[in-house]
């Protein structure tokens, strides 16, 4: 994965930039020693690493504004960072950049149950937002699987999803307002405790802009009352086609489960070996969870069981208590750990129309043989978000490159099937150069025109999202301006 060469003019200014940052920040908030900046050399896409020039760890919007104003005037690129859990390289530094980490900004600013909102600093972790309102039985709905560690800042940057978004939506559907700092240091307020934009929906375009439009320092989030209860059911089938059909029939029947998870045979086998959850050995396993009052759950599960039974399941198991529910989820929740035990793996994130599921899984199986790499599939079936896990050996020369080539082919297949490159992880550097398969030059130009407005000098996270060749003219102008 290519990254642009560092700007020597910026590198030569390091001492001056450090000095100016120390004018506005306490000493322990500016890291510039090479041994210490190394801790920020990568995010969760660990195959790519590059220590940044400087790391800053502000504690307030005012400090973020000062930092950006200084970096803007010195022409220094800034890479914002939440908790560094991006699987797409969204927080990967360049050697000439300042990493702006929001991890120390983790206060809860306001909890308002009457208006059903919480306002937090964006370094706060996703799970601890729910934790802050748990005593009143409220929660924050988007639940990415990294929720224990990932920050709201990163959730907003990537418009993160989760397993329950079929019912509750993703980050953009639960984000009501932000305080954001533009690259020139201007502080902007958008949205708040009221609904919808009074003018253009700028909040909508900021969410998912991968830290390229501004640094979001505070967020107003919608909180919801927890449902009375939830219960999963597990079903196994002899073919992917039948499992896909069951999903479609359940949805057509008017039932809206909160989650429908799909696992294929390689994934079932790996999870079973790892977690011993008692899964049936079959081609396709579905976990469907419904929630609501006891009456609602019984009614929905009744309909689902009737549909499931009509399609000749290998196994049909309804949780009778919390313990059984836990066992049903155990295997699925340990899928990534199970894969990690077998080998290194790369996790993809393409989305497809649910109707293309059997075709796409068949093609992935064929490609797996062509590339000589095993692949297991877990899949949010209700919303079409696939997570193929390609196994490879990082210590074997050429394996990573082969894995990346295989991954690229899978993502192109998702686009060809009517889907997209990324459902919830973001583009980052990982899928940057594949964007031309989903978008025309005009489509990409329209997106880059938005960045031109928010960050005319292209200093915020500049080498991400757009293919380097496509963004080159704009980044060259930024370099030349130095």
């Amino acid at each position: 994965m290519e990254m642009p060469a560092p700007n020597p003019v910026v590198l030569a200014r390091k001492a001056r930039v450090v000095a100016r940052l120390l004018d506005v920040l306490p000493k322990n908030a500016v890291i510039h020693d090479d041994a210490e900046t190394r801790a920020y050399e990568c995010d969760a896409l660990t195959a790519y690493r590059c220590p940044p020039m400087i790391v800053v760890l502000p504690t307030s919007t005012a400090e973020v504004s000062d930092i950006l104003r200084i970096c803007h005037s010195e022409g220094v690129p800034v890479v914002p960072r939440g908790s560094g859990t991006s699987l797409a390289g969204g927080a990967l530094p360049t050697a000439d950049c300042v990493i702006l980490g929001v991890a120390r900004m983790n206060d809860v600013l306001e909890v308002d149950y009457d208006n059903r909102i919480i306002r937090v600093q964006t370094g706060r972790t996703n799970l601890s937002v729910s934790g802050a309102v748990a005593e009143e039985d409220f929660f924050y709905a988007p639940d990415p699987s990294s929720q224990l560690a990932c920050a709201i800042a990163g959730n907003i940057a990537m418009n993160s999803g989760g397993a329950h978004c079929l019912k509750y939506g993703v980050t953009t559907n639960n984000l009501m307002g932000v305080t954001m700092v533009l690259m020139d240091g201007t502080v902007v307020e958008m949205g708040g405790a009221h609904l919808d934009a009074g003018g253009l929906d700028l909040l909508g375009v900021i969410c998912g802009s991968e830290g390229q439009l501004g640094v979001v320092t505070e967020a107003t989030l919608r909180i919801l009352r927890k449902p009375e209860g939830a219960r999963p059911i597990l079903m196994g089938y002899d073919s992917n086609e039948v499992a896909g059909e069951v999903v479609s029939v359940i949805i057509k029947a008017g039932v809206l489960p909160v989650a429908i998870e799909f696992m294929d045979r390689p994934c079932i086998e790996a999870c079973e070996a790892f977690a011993k959850a008692g899964y049936p050995m079959c081609e396709a396993l579905l976990i469907v969870e419904v929630e609501g009052s006891p009456a609602e759950i019984d009614h929905q599960l009744g309909l689902i069981k009737e549909i499931a039974a009509r399609h000749n399941p290998v196994e049909l198991r309804e949780a009778q208590d919390a313990d059984e529910a836990g066992r049903i989820w155990l295997g699925r929740k340990s899928a990534f750990g199970a894969m990690g035990q077998i080998n290194d793996y790369m996790c993809l994130d393409g989305t497809i129309p649910v109707s293309s599921l059997p075709y796409v899984l068949r093609r992935i199986g064929e490609m797996s043989k062509e590339f000589g790499l095993d692949v297991a599939n877990v899949f949010h079936a209700g919303d079409g978000n696939m997570h193929p896990l390609i196994l490879f050996d990082a210590n074997k020369p050429g394996d990573l490159e082969r894995c990346e080539a295989f991954g690229a082919e899978i993502l192109k297949l998702c686009v060809e099937a009517g889907g997209c490159l990324t459902g919830e992880h973001g583009v980052g550097i990982e899928k940057r150069d594949l964007m031309v398969h989903q978008f025309t030059a005009e489509d990409l130009e329209a997106q880059m025109a938005v960045k031109d407005v928010f960050d005319p000098a292209w200093l915020l996270n500049p080498a991400k999202v757009f293919p380097l060749t496509v963004s080159a003219p704009r980044r060259a102008v930024a370099m030349a301006a130095e």
Binding site: G199, L200, G204, H299, K431, V450
Partner: protein
């Protein structure tokens, strides 16, 4: 009136336009500015409907009624409950799905399931230079590139002319019921609605009408479940009041959605989005001679004010925004339709308009001077 027959035709018309274009679908929502009319009414047809994937794709000029009728065959619906502006504004014409999206039109259920913008999966549009652009797609989870889908939704034709939209849909519930609490003032209504919306009983409508001080709380779903939740909700609110069932409930919410209470009354109509707990104070500041109807648990104030009233001036500074939905020409000339934005935000909006429509020919002046 320019009526392009397809997307390429539209692109050519925009490229060839030398003066401002008034972009509209069926022209039912009263947002026209001065210029040459351009309607998407010729771009029609549902291009994809997949009930099992909860997805519909339609060209912008497709009548809303046709979209709803098609969804009804799969027992599904546009869950954000778009308002029909014709009764309130006295407009004729056929509301289009593109118009709903361009104006981000949502009804009472917005409080529970989200606005039109939350159901948008993808769109195609032609910008002010005649360039055809697509963004998003037809799948429910998609974070590939910037989200221009939400930027264009609610942009009222000022960034581009939407030609096709892709929407998430939801199943129709088996039944609905509405609890009616009579004789409440606004403060009591906000309290009851907040308690209901903060309960686990999945309230999908929370409104208050001044006539009779009625507060209405709607539940939807499977019959047994609605009955159970209604019982629990009544316990929570200590309410032994009347419950409207089925069609009676449906009719009530259709009238609330379309604000028909203000249809025949003279005066301007404003739509004010606020923090629900601020509503009593803001309504008080609106002053004498203003009638209100609350939706979205108190977060949306519909206000009927004497013609020419500068309601924003009366309210003063507040967190939210006020839109002038119905007014005569003199008032429209004197007061902006949309809430003036803070300087930094206004600069960003203006910058985006300059990028998407550099010649300033798409609905100029509608959203900002």
């Amino acid at each position: 009136m320019l009526t392009p027959k397809d997307e390429n035709d539209l692109a050519q018309m925009i490229r060839g336009a030398a003066s401002p274009l008034v972009v509209q679908g069926g022209g039912t929502r009263g947002m026209q500015v001065a210029g040459t009319g351009l309607t998407t009414a010729g771009l029609t047809g549902i291009t994809l409907y997949e009930p099992g994937a909860l997805t519909i794709v339609a060209r912008a000029g497709t009548p809303v009624a046709e979209v709803e009728a098609t969804l009804a065959t799969g027992n599904q619906r546009l869950a954000f409950e778009p308002m029909d502006h014709r009764p309130l504004l006295g407009t004729a014409g056929t509301p289009t799905i593109g118009g709903v999206v361009a104006a981000n039109v949502s009804g009472p259920r917005r409080i529970a399931v989200g606005a039109a913008r939350d159901f948008m999966l993808g769109l195609r549009y032609v910008d002010g230079q005649g360039t055809i652009v697509k963004n998003g797609g037809r799948v429910m989870k998609n974070v590939t590139g910037y989200d221009l889908v939400r930027l264009l939704t609610g942009s009222h034709g000022t960034l581009g002319v939407i030609t096709e939209v892709s929407l998430k849909v939801l199943p129709c519930p088996e039944t609905e019921a509405t609890l009616v609490l009579p004789g409440q003032d606004i403060a009591a209504a906000i309290q009851a609605m907040s308690a209901a919306l903060g309960s686990p009983f999945e309230v999908t409508g929370a409104a208050h009408v001044a006539a009779g001080g009625r507060t209405l709380l709607r539940l939807e779903g499977f019959g047994d479940s609605v009955a159970y939740r209604m019982g629990r909700l009544r316990d929570l609110l200590r309410a032994d009041d009347a419950v409207l069932q089925g069609d009676e409930s449906t009719a009530e919410w259709a009238a609330l959605r379309d604000v028909t209470a203000f249809a025949a009354a003279p005066g301007d109509v404003w739509r004010v989005s606020v923090k629900p707990s601020d509503a009593p104070g803001i309504v008080a500041r609106m002053g004498d001679g203003v009638q209100v109807q609350l939706d979205w648990g108190g977060g949306m104030i519909w206000a009927l004010a004497p013609a020419g009233t500068d309601l924003r001036a009366r309210i003063g500074a507040f967190s939210g925004h006020a839109t002038l939905v119905r007014a005569d020409a003199a008032t429209r000339a004197a007061l902006p339709v949309f809430q003036p934005e803070a300087a930094a935000v206004a600069a960003l909006s203006a910058g985006l308009r300059a990028q998407f429509d550099p010649r300033g020919i798409l609905n100029p002046g509608l959203m900002a001077a």
